[in-house]
């Protein structure tokens, strides 16, 4: 017989209670994993969507806390192209709009001369021709979800658009995006002559001092704009920050729930087994050994609940990301470190949950425990 035999038998002695406790931990851990993986996934998708153009700087309206509400004059694009050290500058207008089948999607407008139109890989169809009206290119995943092909019509912001192409992107947000010539979106959104942001590629991106000098010149040329390295933009995004904060706050509640559940179960289990603890003490088990026994029982509950909870959390995150209402903006980012952190946290919480009751039980006089039992 191993030391672990006794706590294992104790857990199987009351199967209904054990299952319910494990279920509570599964819910807590599952919520934790799902929320954190979705929050990380959103931050990552936002970053990669901006990085896909392989630009070094992004200009947004100074003082705006969120990129979608940023507004810069389109004329600024031409001014910035003339700044020394700038290889290219392209404006883009972004908006979240309702589409068919309950989808909410990112609708982006690119100017006709934007080289990104040519750089895209088109799964079907082509880029819009200059002067074409009411046409869009859909991201590959969006086209698949809506079952649309070039020649079909799609309703965006309650207006019909003819699909001319389906493009492949490297991340979830862009693959769920609709693209149209800049002028069309400006008219649709009543934002003529404005863009949300300007993507900037620099001539000497690999030289830090050159990048710094160019950034300084850009700031002087456009004091109304804020210039941020593309890689830092996701960290500064308010929605990303809020989602992260909500995820952590909810996770803290979930962890607290887990602690209470394990503590409650162990308190009941210990109270029920006063006699058993008295017997163990009477036959010479030390308080430390009895403490270890009860803690191990809590850890076993935590380990089982943690493993199932991690798996359930990953499954839930992927299920949530597949919902039409999410519109492909949330692609879970499940990493080994995230799962390991959550698992270690729940193991610690399970140990802490049973600690006080276990300590009390281990200190009781055996005669008292046997009398009460």
């Amino acid at each position: 017989m191993r030391f672990s035999t006794l706590p294992a038998r104790n857990l199987t002695r009351r199967p209904a209670r054990t299952v319910l406790t494990v279920l509570g931990i599964v819910v807590a851990v599952g919520s934790l994993v799902a929320l954190l993986s979705l929050a990380h996934g959103f931050a990552n998708a936002w970053l990669t969507s901006l990085n896909e153009r392989k630009t070094q700087l992004v200009a947004v309206q100074k003082g705006m806390v969120e990129i979608l509400t940023s507004s810069l004059p389109q004329a600024l694009v031409g001014q910035l192209r003339r700044v020394e050290g700038v290889a290219s500058a392209n404006g883009a207008l972004l908006a979240l709009v309702p589409a068919e089948q309950d989808y909410t999607m990112l609708f982006a407008g690119w100017s006709d001369d934007d080289t990104e139109w040519r750089n895209r890989a088109y799964v079907e169809g082509r880029a819009p021709q200059p002067g074409e009206e009411s046409v869009v290119v859909l991201g590959e995943v969006l086209a698949l979800a809506l079952d649309k092909h070039p020649g079909d019509t799609v309703r965006l912001l309650y207006r019909p658009f003819r699909i001319v192409g389906v493009a492949r992107f490297g991340n979830a947000i862009n693959n769920n995006m609709a693209l149209a010539p800049l002028g069309q979106i400006q008219t649709l959104l009543h934002r003529e002559g404005t863009v949300s942001l300007i993507h900037l590629r620099l001539t000497h991106a690999d030289r830090k001092e050159m990048v710094a000098a160019t950034t300084a010149r850009l700031r002087a040329a456009a004091p109304e704009a804020a210039f941020t390295a593309t890689g830092d933009l996701a960290d500064q995004n308010v929605i990303v920050g809020l989602l992260d904060a909500i995820a952590w706050a909810t996770s803290a509640i979930a962890l607290f729930m887990g602690t209470v559940i394990v503590a409650n179960t162990l308190m009941m289990a210990v109270a029920e087994r006063t006699e058993e603890i008295g017997i163990l003490s009477a036959i010479g088990w030390s308080p430390r050994r009895i403490l270890a026994l009860i803690l191990l029982e809590g850890l076993m509950l935590g380990a089982i609940g943690g493993l199932i909870g991690c798996a359930a959390g990953v499954a839930a995150a992927y299920w949530i990301s597949s919902l039409p209402v999410v519109g492909g903006f949330l692609e879970p980012q499940v990493t080994v470190s995230l799962v390991a952190e959550v698992f270690v946290a729940v193991i610690l919480v399970s140990g802490v949950g049973g600690l006080y009751r276990a300590w009390r039980a281990s200190r009781a006089l055996p005669a008292e425990a046997l009398r009460r039992g």
């Binding site: 017989m1 006699e275 003490s281 036959i283 010479g284 088990w285 030390s286 050994r289 055996p366 005669a367």
Partner: protein, 235 residues
Amino acid sequence: MTDLIRVEQVSRRFGDGRVEALRGVSLSIAAAEKIAITGPSGSGKSTLLRIMAGLDRPDQGRVLFEGREIYGGNGLAALRARRIGMVFQSFHLLATLTAVENVELPMLGVERDAAARVRRVKVLLDQVGLTERARHRPALLSGGECQRVAIARAMANRPALLLADEPTGNLDSETARSIVDLMLAVAGETGAALVMVTHDATVASRMARLVRILDGRLQEAAAGEAAAGEPRPGR
């Protein structure tokens, strides 16, 4: 003979001090001695046994085991594990464990070699005649069989002192006789002292020495007379 255990002027009160279970009790027991403690219900005999076993702390007085005060330091658990075996009236076996696992339980923190533990358990179960019932849980064993398991468990670490609190209290007379035989045999085989609390005059008469306890005070009695005529407890 050298004292194995000596109880000196031990007093114990319960219920906020209103009930005085033991009043300045002193008792010395030599190695390998066989002694019965008798007395009416509530006289304090089980309290005395528990204090001797290191399970309950006296309010006054002291208990010396092999010359060392047992309630003075931190070694009480180790003493209970290695030097004292305890058998209870209601067996106190763990319901989730089989007979073989119950017997092995006291050895978990004492004997690190699992194979040695298994060998020892096999010998003990053979000794108490339960080899065939080794894989049964207490719920599937009779009262006599449970008490045999409890005796094997008490002897697992070869204690110097075997304490039994009404070990035949829940058994019929035939089974009671066999249990007493068994306890005398196992204690005799290892040279352990045996202290048995009992109401049963027949059981008490099997011991070499009898002490009687009345209203928390101890009286030495001649063998065969101390337990005679005492009523059985109502529990």
